[in-house]
């Protein structure tokens, strides 16, 4: 079955550094998402992306965050200057179409900010 792939699986960085988390959504999917899960807490929506622009973003997704689809296959989340509280598991997700209801999640990138 096709799957969403994320790299790296673990990322350790120093506070203030920039990180880029990478995702390859399922190839014929058009809608892309980032969610995050702080250890032991609920999964939180960050941003949705369609047609090369952000559709929705949450309050968490401030100016330090950006997303990009640099080519036809990758979807990236950049955090410009990481903070300790950015430590979390970041999940990429995609779905085929607006009315296609199933959302496929990647295996996640565990980001640790020291």
């Amino acid at each position: 079955e096709p799957e969403v792939t994320q790299t790296p699986s673990h990322q350790v960085t120093q506070m203030g550094q920039e990180v880029i988390l990478r995702c390859v959504p399922i190839s014929n999917h058009l809608y892309f998402y980032w969610y995050r899960q702080i250890l032991g807490q609920k999964v939180e929506f960050l941003v949705s992306f369609y047609n090369n622009e952000i559709s929705e973003k949450s309050e968490i997704f401030d100016d330090q965050f950006s997303v990009e689809r640099p080519d036809g296959s990758n979807f990236t989340l950049k955090i410009r200057s990481t903070k300790l509280e950015d430590s979390a598991m970041y999940f990429c997700a995609s779905k085929k179409g607006h009315f296609n209801e199933k959302l496929f999640f990647g295996s996640g990138t565990q980001l640790s900010v020291l």
């Binding site: 809608y31 969610y35 999964v43 939180e44 929506f45 999940f91 959302l103 496929f104 999640f105 295996s107």
Partner: protein, 112 residues
Amino acid sequence: ELKVEQNPLFLSMQEGKNYTIYCNYSTTSDRLYWYRQDPGKSLESLFVLLSNGAVKQEGRLMASLDTKARLSTLHITAAVHDLSATYFCAVDGDRGAQKLVFGQGTRLTINP
């Protein structure tokens, strides 16, 4: 603001028993999702419930949705050890946009 509450948050049960996880949400929505998460792993879609009265079953799991009561249930029948996981419900707060609001999760442990 849409809030999604699950209970219980922790559930330890014996194999062979039945139990129900409840998911309440605070605003009108007719799209509710159940996911399973194993430790350190991603979210696996279990059920998508799209209308009032929807009921779906897969093996020992059955999910239902009552949009009037703003309640979904996930029922486990004759539990087996490999159902041990954390189960999340999520509600689509923006019709079809998949801006999902998740519950806190129910950590289910099934003991032999």
